[in-house]
Amino acid sequence: MKTKNDYLNAFGVSLEQMQALVGEGLRSGGHWCDLFFEDTSYSELMLRDGEVSAGGSHIDYGCGIRVLCGEKTGYAYSESTSYPALLAAARSASSISVAAKSLTINQKSPYAFRQNPEGITPHSPDNKALERHFYPMREDWREADAARFVPVLRKLESRIRAKDSSVHKVIAMLSAQVSDIMMYNSLGELTTDTRPVGSISVTVIFVRGDRTEMNNASRSFRAGVEMISDALLEELATNVTVGMDERFEARRPKGGKMPVVMAAGASGILLHEAMGHAFEADFNRKGQSIFADKMGKKVASKGINILDDATIPGNRGSLNIDDEGVPGQKTYMVQDGILTSYLHDRISAAYYNVDPTGNGRRESFRYNPIPRMRCTYMESGNDGSVEDLIAGVKKGIFVDQFSNGEVKIGEGDFTFYVKSGRLIENGRLTMPVKDINIVGNGPKALADIVAVASDLKIDDSTWTCGKEQSALVSCGIPSVLVNKLTVGGD
């Protein structure tokens, strides 16, 4: 396991130099300065037309320096970690202090993480208390040859072809990324993390007669090479081929407003898009979110709990520490139907005078951190099984796969494309449906959830959130019944 000194040596800086850089950042009057060092290695292999004949690797290395002056941000980065280059970046970032020179802040300890819900204080001398291990990497991707993974993709293709004779083309990709991260801030906190993520995704074209359909499936984990297993390949092969008979039969249904039952798992993306973004504190701090004046108020039915969680072992959205050095944690946004917390970075936490929740995230050293989700899900309810939910619907729609979601934060309006689902008629699943959208309003849909099954499932697909910067996330939900949503059809 790497020590702090290993990280310092890898980035070629000393503690004293980082202290000097922070001093330079604050020289013009800033209130906070932090440094974010990153060394990311990314590799990919692709199978196409039956051969693993494309692949490559990529390196991204550098350091971002941020200076805060009140809620204002100065940001600069360098792709070199030589001291002169970092000094120039620190001076550039400090320019915010000049641009925002009239600002004052009214807190004694702004931006600081004081105590997390488990009672851990961050200021122990060796920072041991902050150490978390949600994604131990037993075998490092950076030390594994590409040759080792060529048979993996070939095996995946043969498994897929064995399951469905109408498979025409298979495109399979294995990608792996490992980032060494080191952070230092003006409180003198030095934090480090090594973040792996491995992903396998597959797209399959099926041809039956003169008709063509496409399906895809993926799995992604914060883990090392050990994540690859026969069971994982079998799961992917099954997921990408299952339900294709229905897909070929599927038609676009008649549209209108109707009850919608959302299946457990991937439907959680609706929770992420339609509600989760509106819980991010920057949108609320600026007054843009539809939840900006709803703290402490009822936003969902009693019994509904919604949370954002960085602590699920191996989960794509998990974080030992966020990108501001705050420990990864589990944050309830809605408890028993009441809005209890936003998702905070250090800026918004200072604004609301609460602790940061470990949601300060950035795409890379090129970006300043902003509040982002991690793994967002709803806890299981007590309304039975998905079959019980379907049985209670006279005429509606059951959806098991969504994609292409979009939300307008201020209005709360969302749209999701339905990849697969079925009509519900008199409590039974009937005609398969496709090529439709579901349209609604986030807070209204949240309030219209009238039943929650007891089958919470976290979906481990390759979810990536695109709010200003890309961030790895995941989502989950138990099966839920929404009383009324607009379904677009013929």
Binding site: A54, E71, K72, Y75, A99, N404, G410, N437, G488
Partner: protein, 487 residues
């Protein structure tokens, strides 16, 4: 500025690749310098300065192919990286279709980098103080949050190319005491270089500057409902940059959405604003890509030379218009771009075929993708202007197309949805307005359009002349007949 040393380092990467055992190689250096000043409610919120440099490598080793990149650009790090990259490539399966392009097809007229005249020397003279001044002066927030929107001055020239009715500008802000909740603005300028060399003697350079300003506003009506609106302007040359248009346009976008009403499902004429009309062009361009055709994931398979779209419709690629954003003299392989037809008189004239797909499919190579697609004015026979004439109007903007359509729904934004690449079936949620007799009645709520891309385009009534020049795709306002709306 791209330094001599940076060019030399890129060329040296080719030598390192050959030394490590590659048979052929291409190296591409990208260098981008950017400055950003963001504002929140009329105050500076964030100042960012960036310099990015990285070298990408395409390696051809023993009949195998790999792609690699690094931003660690010291010579020794690169040598180690390239040595490993060659080793990794050797582990892949052979693919004899991979090759560098025929040198005869590569650009010979792109050595200076500014052949299109889109790299402005004025960029280097913009000072940090001027950037802050740009951002603050063009902020909408001379109006503070919480103040009444009725005090906002909304200039009537907000979108001169698209709105001709004075009423349309005055109506939304004339009353009601709506509140401006927040305003975010972002000024940025950048200078970008792309230098590409290969082991067959290719050496091309592209340079481009950009000046951009974006504003997003959130307002609240008297019932507490929030609405957001955004606008963006950009230009490669400072003299063509007009950030003063942005905040008024964003505000207008927001206030126009107040008071949405449901609209019955049914077939309507659809007018799609030039700001978003590329949404219905993109599926066509994707379907013409040889990769999708080879994978049988295209609804335009086996359509080359066939009449698929309405007679009279042209879709062109115009990558070499001097002085305009997003133009380029070469694609990522270094192949020379050209101004040409993609669709002519409704007939498909071109698939996008790079060297790899050419060898794979056994067809002639073209260009890897459309660089700057352009749709010229189209006016279906029988469609009459508001003055009753059937001829193409002198100015074919959004208002003109609404008047020609009479009744219908104006689409100003798409909010999620999907197009099936294999079938062309689509379903998109939209934001827009019901119009009658060419005049906007009200915003529509929770509506979608569904259909098939080829069927949609077969109902094309008109294509205007109001494409936004700052966009990569020059798609004007489009009008279609018999579009399925549901809500």
């Amino acid at each position: 500025m791209l330094e001599k040393e940076e060019k030399q380092l890129t060329r040296d990467c080719l030598a390192m690749a050959l030394e490590a055992g590659a048979a052929k190689a291409r190296a591409s250096l990208s260098k981008n310098t950017m400055n950003i000043v963001a504002t929140l409610d009329g105050e500076v919120d964030k100042v960012t300065s960036c310099l990015d440099r990285s070298i990408s490598l395409n390696l051809f080793v023993d009949g195998r192919y790999g792609t690699f990149s690094s931003n660690k650009l010291d010579r020794e790090s690169l040598r180690t990286f390239i040595g490993k990259a060659v080793g990794t490539t050797r582990m892949l399966a052979a693919d004899t279709c991979r090759d560098l392009p025929d040198p005869a097809r590569t650009a010979k007229d792109a050595s200076k980098g500014n052949e299109l005249g889109i790299c402005d020397s004025a960029w280097s003279s913009v000072t940090p103080d001027q950037r802050i001044a740009f951002a603050l002066e063009n902020s909408a927030s001379s109006v503070k949050p919480g103040r009444s929107c009725s005090s906002v001055s909304l200039p009537p020239h907000t979108r001169p190319a698209q709105k001709t009715s004075q009423e349309e500008h005055v109506l939304p802000v004339a009353a009601k005491g709506w509140k401006l909740i927040s305003e975010e603005g972002e000024y940025s300028d950048s200078q970008y270089y792309n230098y590409v060399v290969d082991t067959q003697g290719l050496e091309v350079l592209h340079s481009e500057t950009s000046f951009e300003f974006f504003t997003e506003l959130t307002i609240q009506d008297s019932k507490g409902h929030k609405y957001s609106g955004g606008w963006w302007e950009a230009a490669p040359l400072l003299k063509d940059f007009h950030p003063e248009k942005v905040a008024p346009a964003a505000l207008q976008e927001a206030v126009m959405q107040i008071g949405p009403q449901s609209c019955p499902s049914g077939k309507y004429r659809a007018v799609i604003d030039s700001e978003v009309s590329q949404k219905v062009l993109n599926p066509i361009l994707n379907a013409l890509n040889a990769f999708n055709i080879q994978q049988k994931n295209s609804f335009l398979t086996e359509t080359l030379g066939k009449q698929v779209f309405p007679a009279g419709l042209d879709i062109m690629d115009m990558p070499r218009i001097p002085g305009e954003a997003c133009g380029k003299m070469f694609d990522s392989e270094g192949v020379a771009t050209s101004d040409h037809y993609i669709v002519k008189d409704g007939v498909v004239k071109e698939y996008f075929v790079n060297t790899y797909m050419s060898n794979k499919l056994g067809i002639a190579p073209t260009i890897e993708d459309a660089t700057r697609p352009y749709i010229p004015v189209f006016w279906k026979n029988g469609i009459r202007r508001s003055d009753g004439a059937a001829a193409i109007p002198a100015k074919a903007d959004r208002q003109c197309l609404m008047e020609a359509c009479g009744d219908g729904i104006l689409i100003t934004d798409f909010c999620g949805g999907n197009s099936n690449p294999a079938t062309g079936d689509f379903s998109y949620a939209i934001q827009g307005y019901r119009f009658k007799d060419g005049k906007i009645l009200h915003p529509v709520r929770e509506m979608l359009i569904t259909g098939n891309i080829v069927t949609l385009w077969s109902g094309l009534l008109a294509a205007g002349d109001d494409a936004r020049r700052c966009r990569a795709k020059l798609t004007p306002t489009l009008a279609f007949d018999n579009v399925d709306f549901s809500g």
